[in-house]
Structure formats: C-alpha cells, structure tokens
C-alpha cells in the first residue's frame, strides 16, 4: 500500500495539472469568444454587410467589446446583424449610437464599429436595436467615378475641337494666336487706345476748368470742405481757424493749378492730334 501511494500522488498531480491546462485553455478561448461572463445582445439593420461574418469583432471607440453572433436576411434589401457585447460597456452605448461596417487594415477581416451618438443619455437596452450607417460600397464609388469620367470625356472632346479650330481656323482668336500681322495691329490699336484715353482724361481736366462746368465741380469741392469742417467743428476752435486758413491757401493753390492746367491742355491737344495722324499713317 505504501508503495502504491508513492506513485499515486505523482500520478494524481500529473493528471490534475494536465486537465487544468486543458480547462484553462478552453476557458480563455471561450472568454475570447464571449461565451462566459455577462453579455447582452443588440441588433442593427443594414442594407448590405459587405462580407461581414459571424464571429467578427465588434468595436466601440477602437476597443473590441464583442462579436457578431448572427447575420440573417429579413427581406430582399435588408440584413439584420445581431451582436453579443460585454455587459460592462452597456452604459456607454446610448440609444442613438450607430453601427457601421469597416475593414480591419488593408487585408484584414471586416469589423463592425459602433460609433457614439450625440444627444441621447439613455443606455441601450438588452435586445435593443441601433441605427446603422451604410458603408462606402465599391459599386457606389465606381458609379460616381464613372460619372465624373464621362464628364471629363465630354470636356476633352470639346477641348480637342477648340484647339483644332485655334490651330486651323480663321476666327479672330485663332488669327490673334497665329498671325504676326494681326498681333502687331492689335498692339498698335492698344497703344492708340492708350494715347486716346490719355487725351480723354486731359479733356476732362479741361472741362473742369471750363466756365460752363466750373460751377459744378466747385460745388462738389465745397461739399467736401463742408463735411471736413463739420468734422473739425467738433474739435477745438484753434484747429478750426487753422483749417480755415488752410482752406484759403488751398483755394489759392487751386486757382494757380487751374491756370497751369489750361496751359497744359493746349499742349496735350496738339500731342493727341499728332498721335491720331500717326495712327492714320499706319
């Protein structure tokens, strides 16, 4: 009997440790799959699950909180996904949370992601349902890409026609681009136009000093001065006086300037006439 007890305890220890290892492995794997511990279920309805499978992870704020338990079709355009989630995160998932299907890395498994809502303060209930966001489907993406590619096709066709007519046509723009004579005449026209507008501004100056229009321009100036005076009245009287003196000086100066302008006008009119003659020659 003593001899027997010599080996039975070793045998017992051996068997116990061996079975314990096995049970531990089973327990931890089961825990990974949410078989033990308290859990709760929620469902969400999708148009498409894009390859989601039973057993895929459910994520909330990037943390794995559960797994997909069941995927079933309820009619031709909607799929109900029910998931098992750890009870401890239930308080964080509100009733307006949304489920979406994404993918884990470039080649990874599909992942169901629950994103938090904004307003609701109420936690989701067991067997409750949450809304879903439709993921970006490759087909949809392709549709929109096709639309813009079609548009690009139309645009490039028109661009081809346009550039062809630019190179071969006889329109004004085409000639402008290709023809040196045309370019020269345009640049001449532009320089004439420049001198013309110079003359025009001189005419305007002349009109200002003309006795017929002088009254009109002076009125404008006076209005300006009045406004300035009103502003200055609010300030000290000394400044007001100084301003009046300045105005008097300014008037004198203006009269001088006007006289100078009359002299200039005569010269410039002659110049303008010379320029016109040049243009006619060309």
């Amino acid at each position: 009997m003593e001899k027997q007890s010599g080996y039975t305890w070793k045998l017992g220890m051996f068997v116990t440790i061996g079975l314990l290892l096995f049970i531990m492995a089973i327990y931890f794997i089961g825990k990974q799959k949410n078989l033990f511990g308290s859990t709760f279920n929620i469902t969400s309805q999708f148009k498409t699950v894009s390859g989601l499978e039973v057993g895929n992870n459910v994520r909330f704020s990037g943390i794995n909180i559960g797994t997909v338990e069941e995927i079933r079709l309820i009619n031709d355009s909607s799929v109900v996904v029910s998931m098992v989630i750890k009870d401890e995160v239930r308080e964080f998932i509100k009733t307006d949370a949304r489920a979406s299907i994404g993918s884990d890395g470039l080649m990874g498994d599909k992942v169901l992601t629950i994103s938090p809502g904004m307003k609701s303060q109420k936690s989701v209930e067991n067997n409750g349902a949450i809304a879903s966001i439709d993921g970006v489907e490759m087909a949809d993406l392709m549709k929109s890409v096709k639309k813009s590619v079609d548009n690009i096709g139309v645009i490039s066709d028109e661009l081809a026609i346009f550039s062809h007519s630019m190179n071969n046509g006889n329109g004004a723009l085409a000639r402008l681009v290709r023809d040196d004579k045309m370019a020269n005449s345009v640049s001449n026209t532009l320089s004439n136009l420049e001198s013309g507008t110079k003359g025009f501004s001189e005419n305007m100056e002349a009109a200002k000093s003309n006795f017929l229009f002088r009254g009109y321009f002076k009125k404008k100036e006076k209005e300006k001065e009045k406004k300035q005076e009103e502003l200055k009245e609010k300030k000290e009287e000394q400044q007001e006086k100084a301003a009046k003196e300045k105005e008097a000086k300014a008037k004198e100066e203006k009269e001088k300037q006007e006289k100078a302008k009359e002299e200039k006008e005569k010269q410039e009119k002659q110049k303008a006439e010379d320029a016109k003659k040049d243009a006619e020659k060309k």
Binding site: Q4, Y7, T8, K10, F14, G18, A25, I29, K31
Partner: protein, 252 residues
C-alpha cells in the same frame, strides 16, 4: 504471393478482433484498478520529462525557424499566434504520439512478448486470471487517457518554448504573448486536435499489446515484437493524423 497476401489479411483480421475485444472487455468486471493506475503512472508520469523536453524544443525551434519568413512580410507580430496554432493543431499531438510510440509501444511489446515467451500469460490463464483483462485492457486504457494529457503538457511547454524563442530576438511581455496566442485560437483548433490524441493513445497501446501478445515462441521474437510495435504504431499515427485532418477539414 497469394499466401503472403492471405497472411497479411489474416494479421489485419487478428488485430481487428484484438481491438474489438478491448471494447468488450473494458466494461466487464473485474476492473483492475490498481494495475490501471500503475500503468498510468508508468505511461503518463514517467514519459513527462521526455515529452516536456521535446515540446520545449519544438516550440523554440518552430519560433526561430518561422521568424525570418514572417519578418520578410512584416508580420512578426503574428509569430506567437502562428507558432501556437501549429503547435496545438499538429506538432504537439504528433510529436508526443511519436515519442510515446517509441517509449511506450516498444515497452509494452517487449514486456508482453517476454511474458508470452516465458509462458507467464499461459500461467495466468491457468490460475483463472483473464490475461487480456489484466494486461491488455489496463494498458490500452492507460495509454488512451494519458497521451492526451501528455499532449496538453507538450502544448503548454511548447508555448513557453516559443516565448523564449521570441525573446531571443525581440522583447515581448509574457502577458502580451499569451493574449496574442489566445486571440488567435478558436475551439476549432483545440477540440479536433484533442479528440485526435485519444485515437493516438488507443492505437499506441493497442499495437504494443497486440505485437507482444502475439509474439511467437523464442527469445528473438521479443525483440521483433518490440521493434515492429514501434514501426507499426508510428506509421498508424501518421495515417490516423491524415484521416483526422481530412475529417476535420470536411466538416468545418
């Protein structure tokens, strides 16, 4: 030619009858509990050091060998999962079973063979002890139950070996290592592999016993029985493994 073929079939038939007899007699009293525990001790506990060393080395070597390939793909973080998966699904059961075939099957074959040659088995029958029940049933049962437990040990020690292997090149926390392994495992990896080991154990015991029990007279037949027990058991392990993997693949 035909005679040798007939002989082969006769041997297979004999072995089948022998195997069937085990299932009949295992439920029939008297139950040889004491002898059964003794055999469990020899088969299980005494094989543990051998299995532990093999398991550790397998884990270590497997990690070091698969590392360069995974590094090439930038998937070094999958190393623990991959090593654990291949250890638990395939390598630990098969290597443990082969070790047991070498150690246990040959031992049983030699033991029973010499008993047969020295007519101890006949003496048992004369003294109204059922030799099949006392010698064969206890040994096969002990083998069937102990080999799976040895495989659990080999799994665990192999995983520790893998941890050592990973830490030769990198630095991974043990807890993180275990988490990665658990994450990569499923029941589908553990359960079929475990069921497989019961069959390994049964065949190791059965072939050892059959070869020993049917040893012909003469001293050299003891050696022949031990030798052919090891060869047949090893071969049958690979065949069972192939069948088991195919069945698992078929259903899951």
């Amino acid at each position: 030619m035909i005679l040798s073929l007939k002989n082969t079939f006769e041997q297979i038939g004999n072995a089948t009858v022998f195997a069937k007899r085990f299932f009949k007699e295992v439920f029939i009293p008297p139950y040889e509990v004491k002898e059964f525990l003794k055999q469990c001790y020899y088969i299980g506990y005494k094989s543990l050091p051998l299995v532990a060393i093999t398991g550790f080395i397998m884990g270590l070597v497997l990690t070091l060998q698969s590392r360069p390939t995974l590094v090439k793909f930038g998937a070094e973080s999958w190393l623990p999962g991959m090593v654990a998966l291949s250890l638990i699904r395939e390598i630990a059961p098969v290597i443990t079973a082969l070790i047991c075939a070498g150690k246990i099957s040959s031992g049983i074959g030699a033991e029973l063979g010499s008993m047969k040659v020295t007519e101890q088995i006949d003496a048992m029958e004369v003294s109204a002890i059922n030799p099949y029940n006392y010698l064969v049933v206890t040994r096969i049962l002990a083998c069937t139950l102990m080999v799976p437990i040895l495989v659990f040990f080999a799994d665990a020690i192999g995983i520790i070996g893998g941890y050592v292997g990973i830490n030769i090149h990198g630095d991974v926390n043990f807890y993180r290592y275990l988490t990665q392994i658990i994450q990569s495992l499923e029941f589908l990896d553990v359960i079929p592999a475990t069921i497989k080991t019961f069959f390994f154990g049964y065949f190791i015991g059965m072939i050892g016993c059959y070869k020993g029990f049917n040893a012909s007279n003469g001293t050299e037949s003891v050696g022949r029985a031990a030798n052919s027990a090891v060869v047949t058991a090893s071969l049958s392990i690979f065949i069972i493994d192939m069948v088991a993997v195919q069945i698992t693949d078929l259903f899951f």
